[in-house]
Symmetry: C2
Subunit: 337 residues, 2 copies
Amino acid sequence: MSETVRLTEEKATALVAAAFEASDVSPANALSTARALVAAEADGQVGHGFSRVLAYAAQAKAGKVRGHAVPEVSQAGPALLRVDAGFGFAFPALDLACARLAALTRETGIAAAAVHRSHHCGQLGAHVERLAKAGLVAIMVANTPRAMAAWGGTSALFGTNPIAFGAPREGHEPLVIDLSLSKIARGKIMAADQRGEAIPEGWALDAEGNPTTDAGAALKGTLVPAGGAKGAALALMVEVLAASLTGAVPSREATSFFDAEGAPPGVGQFLIAVDPGAASGGTYTAAFEALAAAIEAEDGARLPGTSRHARREAARRDGLTMSAALHGKIAALAQAG
Amino acid sequence: MSETVRLTEEKATALVAAAFEASDVSPANALSTARALVAAEADGQVGHGFSRVLAYAAQAKAGKVRGHAVPEVSQAGPALLRVDAGFGFAFPALDLACARLAALTRETGIAAAAVHRSHHCGQLGAHVERLAKAGLVAIMVANTPRAMAAWGGTSALFGTNPIAFGAPREGHEPLVIDLSLSKIARGKIMAADQRGEAIPEGWALDAEGNPTTDAGAALKGTLVPAGGAKGAALALMVEVLAASLTGAVPSREATSFFDAEGAPPGVGQFLIAVDPGAASGGTYTAAFEALAAAIEAEDGARLPGTSRHARREAARRDGLTMSAALHGKIAALAQAG
């Protein structure tokens, strides 16, 4: 077993933020981004947690992410915000978008924020959860670098294009749904490729559009959408909402979130928030609790997102684990600043 | 081959409207509903077309649908409309919702309509298409009588809970995506049951939650969601948006759209419209056309909804076909009025 370091969330946040500050990121942007990565790690979303720190720092150093970007909000209509992330990290822009969207939605009943010139937004569930904790029902979509083909096609035109949904509850943590529209996360195929293992049929297509079990061929091809043609159609919907509608770079042209090569990815996020009391005429809370009770009464069924809460509590109690190798690299980066 | 009658869309609309009027439906509601069913038939969505006429008429006669309902709109916030369909047919309420929503969205940038005390809304694509033809990007969700279980459960808590998406194009028909979240439409299983045929494994579960190829057992059980756990999570999202959020009857309690038994189904629909010019800072049209061109450049891929346009043109040119048996029943109903 490889050596690990145990850190409280506070210590982990301070360490990661220091590494970003040392990589030409403003203190405010470094803190926002560090908090988001640590929160993802605590939620067990490790693909959006500590594993991203070195790649993010390298992108900031290279200028692929503008570490000193200051996100700007403009009012595109009485209920519609545009948020320019300025080719910086996504999290400072989303902190601002969520705060402004929550305040606006309480006035208008429904409102949206169109975020563009943005970057990897991590676990979408965290953003809709913030809106749900503010008492709002929230939908969020994001486009991501190319991964999936149009149905019947072979070129990767769409990202994994995730959808998230948050709904407030009284006396309980909010409902949080967070899913990508590919059947399997690209990370699982990358891991199989690194181990030299085959992948199950049905996960991916090669560059010619044929089913493949070769992880390397899959990485040169496309991911299979969840639910076949229906998932591909939903990925197109997300592409239009998160990129065409926000003015962001489309998935097929966005550069990688993982390396420091090329122009900023410039992807987009689109967030919608609704006041459930206003929309339902005051019946939302009772209706949602009855639905939740019906689901929880089923043997074997549960509300999505509940395992995340358990992991989060464990992290708060026991701290987070980081490999000693990664800890050493992040600490060296922070000390070099 | 069974005998058929060929009708122009105008004649079909007049015939169906007369049958509804003879079934205690107001002339305005009869016309709105007849138009929607004929349009679905012309689009090739036969499950939402002529096949519904007799069941609709029977429900109006029985008072399960209130044929003289007058839909009412109230402003729940500057950007949020509530539409009370009054336990009438859905189409008059949705005509009103789409017209008011289009006008409001042009002022606010984004707006929504929460429709409740509603009924079967047919092909959702037709409603988002109207909003897209008005220059807006539109999302619509609906809940429907119980059909699918929560993931891991056995009771039907969700309907097939469709999602539709419309996006305007310049010089082309809008993009229209319209899909239910079950892997297979219930109608296909009903047809197999009537023919006494087995269904493929993977379509449905029996009442104990086990996979079944017995169509009869499937009809007593639940439909499998498209994309497995992800489809089930999206069905829950639609249930919250279309029912809990609008104040409608939840899928698990809604009565059938097919028979005249019991209370009105009282389901809900939730529609969101966004002004794409405002959201994108004026870049939407060029961005969408570039995306459409990238999809159409792929061998074997196409934009969803294009086959519907071809069928619609054929119907306009050649008229619609109705079985002589159904035509006789509808004509008898109309003449009895």
